[in-house]
Symmetry: C2
Subunit: 311 residues, 2 copies
């Protein structure tokens, strides 16, 4: 599982400040989360394969989270995409997107399937044999969801050395053994699955929570998440602005991470008013030590440090 | 009069290729022409003052010419703009823009005045005491206009040395002299205006023609224009694609410049298929020598060479 930050600032794009967009690779699935203006440029810069993206998740319809969507859709058409594209976002996203395509007479050859969200309860919105995605209802000025991405439990791994002790076990049996079954020898003796397999890697999870005021009621949804992105638009000196604009401080983001027992916290969506984003990290770490700053062009895993993507 | 190229490539934005947008300063007026995705970032990069822009001209509703408009409108709101913004473009531009603002609940404090265009004849769409703007009906796959920006005739300049020969002429008389009037001395003798003034600088004009197939019927509209931007999407080896997509070759752009007796031609809107844009210049110069390539971050005047903007 790795997360690439394509944009992590709030409000207005600037020369080196792109609005929210993230690219998540999880268990061989590839998701785009939010799509502010300029996202397609950032995808090219950081070598995110356009054809890999089949599912785009939009948290809310503020411009800094979706004004890049229609341009990306048009570009996928120019790139001769043919497979379906699924877009998940608030009700209205279909109308606003298709109207733009209508006026520009940009008819895509590929089908766009809109999944419009209206529920204020967490719901399962995507599931296949690799990953499930649930909404995380947030508290912002417009209808907003975060998203929880969770790997499906992986099959057990074969303990090849132990298996080789038994001549009777053949390659065609591996499928059952990986699925957790014991093996019955011709003598009737049962070889326990524990002896033949080792535990698979723990399924990982990532929660994206932006934009939102401090909302501790999301904690049961994201409990024990491995990687948590939570917005931190302000420092606690401007908690009054959080109240007014429905955003969070770095301390509040860290408090959510701590209460949810998150493995690691990434914060972002910094207000332009702050010159030094290190202050966000310092504030968050007073509450939750394993905090990283979201930075454009960095790739995050559950490992200790983000990797800078060369370009 | 100077023109800053903010973006000059066709179709899809890439890391160092921005879709069409130009910033024109003419006789103390400041106009934005087209607004592809990323234009506001480019405006910041090349230090175009956001508050100076009161009029935005959109040639047509293909994404590479207007997907950056709504983001710019939202940003002007965040920057606390209060004065009116005028937007000129094809019918539909109001609906598509306001729907996006509605869903994002981005109500601007400033008024947006939409001037929706439907005529297929050249028409005057803006005029004040400094500049007039006319449409140039073009031939593209959707309804498209170019724009002709013309300086108003400037007042005559005072010939201070000659004026000082006449004690009777006072500062308060300058207004009439600049307007072209002769001066009557107390003796009844008439001093000709020719003696008291010198010719003002010639009013300049700029024509923006993109996107369009070769359309020689525009020549009477742009006759003797000082600076002509004309799209050149393809080289003449792919004239077949021009036919199909309603674009021009570099040679066709140059032919328009030559027939219109333009002072200088700037070409752009290069297709991604070409690696070396110098080939466009070479092709155009076989027909019209005074041709420059549009390049992002360069500023063009009627002088010989464009100036690179440092940033």
């Amino acid at each position: 599982m790795q997360l690439t930050v394509l944009g992590c600032h709030s409000a207005t794009p600037r020369v080196n400040a792109y609005p929210t967009s993230q690219y998540l690779e999880i268990n061989n699935r590839h998701f785009l989360i939010d799509c502010g203006e300029g996202t397609q440029r950032q995808m090219r810069k950081y070598k995110v394969g356009f054809s890999k993206i089949d599912h785009i998740f939009i948290s809310h319809l503020h411009g800094d989270h979706f004004f890049g969507l229609v341009g990306l859709i048009a570009t996928l058409g120019i790139l001769n995409r043919e497979k379906e594209l699924h877009i998940y976002g608030p009700k209205g996203i279909k109308e606003v997107t298709t109207l733009q395509l209508k006026f520009s007479k940009t008819w895509t050859k590929y089908a766009i399937v809109f999944h419009e969200l209206t529920s204020t309860e967490s719901e399962l919105i995507f599931e296949d044999n690799k990953v499930s995605v649930r909404t995380i209802p947030l508290n912002h000025r417009v209808y907003t969801n975060g998203f929880l991405f969770t790997e499906k439990a992986k099959p057990r791994k074969l303990h090849i050395e132990n298996i080789q002790q038994y001549d009777e076990i053949e390659t065609c049996d591996f499928h059952h053994i990986k699925a957790g079954k014991d093996f019955v020898l011709s003598t009737g003796e049962i070889v326990s699955n524990d002896e033949l397999t080792i535990d698979p890697p723990k399924p990982l999870s990532f929660a994206f929570c932006s934009d939102t005021a401090y909302k501790p009621s999301i904690i049961p949804i994201i409990k024990n998440v491995d990687l948590l992105y939570h917005e931190a638009t302000f420092l606690k000196d401007r908690e009054d602005l959080c109240e007014k604009t429905k955003h969070s401080t770095a301390e509040q983001a860290a408090s959510i991470a701590s209460q949810a027992n998150a493995g690691k916290l990434i914060i972002g969506h910094y207000s332009n008013r702050y010159k030094n984003i290190d202050d966000f990290k310092a504030e968050a770490q007073t509450v939750f030590n394993n905090t990283e700053l979201a930075e454009v062009g960095k790739r995050y895993t559950t490992d200790a440090f983000p990797v800078e993507i060369l370009n």
